[in-house]
Amino acid sequence: MTSKRTGIESSLAIAEAVKLANTDVIAAYPITPQTHIVEGLAEMVANGELDAEYIPVESEHSAMSACLGSSAVGARTFTATAGQGLILMHEVLLVAASMRLPIVMTVANRALSGPLNVWGDQSDAMSTRDSGWIQMFVENGQQAFDQVICAFYIAEHPDVLLPTMINVDGFHISHVIEPIEMLDRKTVDGFLPPYKRKYTLDPDNPVSMGCFAAPNIYAETRKDLDAALRDSRKVILEVWRKYGDLTGRHYKLVEKYKADNMETLLVTAGGYSENAMDAIDKMQSEGKKVGLVRVRLWRPFPYEEMVQALSGASNVIVLDRAISLGGPAPICSEIRAALYTGDKRPQVASIVGGLGGRDVSPADFEKLVEMGLQQIKAGRTAETIMYGVRE
């Protein structure tokens, strides 16, 4: 069923997953650090390994626009981008969601200008938080491969029909060669149903897509989209369960690592979580009661599961790899809001770090936990700490 592990760059493993999904159309524009993914796909199309239309568009705005068109005629559609590319397509992302077009996209997360910086952080993902896409974080190449396969299933499911974004840290995941267990074509064919939608742009059954909404109906369309996005969690769980049964790799809305009965919980999202795990191993071996909770599904945000995962602890320390200038760090603010609805409200410290590709090593995570605990002790949780910044 599954093949043995192959040493492969994560970006190319993502391209393999897109190929295994028998994708029909890829529209993409080059941008570091995403480019290896679409280069891989272009090569597959050129070699005849993947029968697809590859549209080398003239901008990310057009990449996502072309994806709208191809998805609207019923073709399975993929793109990838990063950083500036994601925010250039921002306008189109919102339309993809509102038109319920199940485009799958990987984002090799990158810092935002200015100043220009091609290295990794999650500012790009945070800027598209409210776009109506299903959004998730992965922590390594294997998860990226798995989630691309699952994303087509989830996005195209008739009860979902929503575009899906997989956040893959730029360079730290995208450019790393890892042993990855691929699936074979037959297995993917058996797992992934074909993309069939009831309404397409079809002369035999003409529909109008993208009509404008006046004040008398706009709010209803937004409510409808919000409900669809919230409801998608049922299908996400179902698809992940099936995928777990098939591969033995199980995914959860909120992922925990040695987090049970811990006084202090660290919260991370994305590739740096693996560094955090090393730090947790070391700290626990020293008798410290520190565990880790990772954000998997970012939208729809799994409030209940997050509260369940965190509310047993006294202290929560959230690392955001994005800065909300003049406001609270994005993941932390979400977590604070979630915890406020619970009966038990742990103290929450907010730390911003790892911006623009700056490393956060396991040793840094240990320091970062100490800083967070000091902050809580001092009763200064309203402040956001910038970790490792020269002042």
Binding site: N22, D24, V25, A27, D51, A52, E53, I55, P56, V57, E58, S59, H61, S62, A63, S65, A66, C67, L68, G69, S70, S71, A72, V73, G74, A75, T77, E91, V92, V95, M99, T200, L201, D202, P203, D204, P206, V207, S208, M209, G210, C211, F212, A213, A214, I217, T221
Partner: protein, 310 residues
């Protein structure tokens, strides 16, 4: 000629693909042009439309005037969406047994084409997608209230380039979109005008037969924005052509052909005086426009291998 004018309309289909009851202003030349384009396209077309007047007048949820599959997403990306539609259909044909012959058509106003949508149009033309782009040029951002675009003609007063004590309104000359489209080395480019239904339909039929991209630029009279009488839409459009202000031509595989070859040009004033947007023009400005119009008209004549006229 008389016999022809009775006979020719009988060749035109009675099928309508943009239904009446839409919300266009009375005397709208643009929606007339859309109607003719759609008649020529027939039912096997998919339309990708840019934000603008035609989108707003035709699609207030939960209603739609479109009898053909139609998609509107944003302002600047109608060509990119059309690229995706065309590529998607190609993939479906090759892989999933899709057999329909569908014409993919992108449409936009002058803003959606010559300004904000120019990049995506250029990209789609350059990549060679098999689609037709139709620009309905009413020479300003009419949908948002008559703001100037790069297609607004010299001397016209708009709300963002108004005529005043120190300004005569638009001080730049109209961007030549047909030449820009032709510079992509595509097989078919044409201009037309909302007052010439048969010309529009003939050109659309020709354009969709071309393999690869084609482009039609249609001057569309806008009584609201041009400040002319809504009963004179057809007359004003004809005068745009008869004065040489808007020449009607085709560029087939790089070769220009003047479709309406006039023995002489009427004075531009005949056209300008019917429109409030030119009301402020002095005799000197009109004379300046007259010189430029003849010069530009002769450039087209020259490209079409015709002698200059005075």
């Amino acid at each position: 000629m008389e016999t022809l004018s009775i006979y020719v309309p009988r060749l035109v289909t009675k099928g309508e693909y943009i239904a009446s009851g839409h919300r266009a202003c009375s005397g709208c030349g643009e929606v007339l042009a859309v109607r003719y384009v759609c008649k020529a396209l027939g039912r096997n077309a998919i339309i990708s439309m840019a934000t603008g007047c035609m989108e707003i007048i035709s699609s207030p949820l939960p209603e739609s005037a479109w009898e053909v599959p139609w998609i509107h997403t944003l302002f600047e990306n109608a060509s990119a969406v059309a690229s995706g539609i065309e590529s998607g259909i190609k993939a479906l044909k090759r892989k999933h047994g899709y057999t329909k012959e569908v014409k993919v058509v992108a449409m936009g106003g002058d803003g959606g084409t010559a300004d904000i949508g120019l990049q995506s149009l250029s990209g789609a033309l350059e990549r060679g997608h098999d689609f037709l782009y139709v620009c309905y040029d009413n020479e300003a951002y009419m949908n948002t209230g008559i703001q100037r675009s790069s297609e607004t003609p010299f001397g016209a007063s708009t709300t963002t380039a108004p005529a005043g004590k120190k300004s005569m309104g638009q001080h730049t000359w109209k961007k030549n979109m047909a030449a820009i489209a032709a510079a992509h080395n595509i097989s078919y480019v044409a201009t037309s005008c909302s007052s010439y239904p048969i010309d529009i339909m003939t050109k659309v039929e020709k354009a969709v037969k071309v393999k690869g991209p084609s482009y039609i630029h249609i001057l569309s009279v806008c009584p609201t924005g041009w400040r002319c009488r809504s009963s004179e839409t057809i007359k004003v459009g004809r005068l745009a052509v008869e004065t040489g202000i808007f020449p009607i031509y085709e560029i087939e595989n790089g070769q220009y052909k003047l479709n309406i070859d006039l023995p002489y040009l009427r004075p531009v004033e005949d056209y300008l005086k019917l429109q409030g947007r030119y009301r402020h023009l002095t005799k000197e400005s009109i004379a300046e426009i007259q010189v430029k119009v003849v010069e530009e008209y002769n450039k087209v004549r020259q490209l079409a291998g015709l002698k200059k006229i005075k």
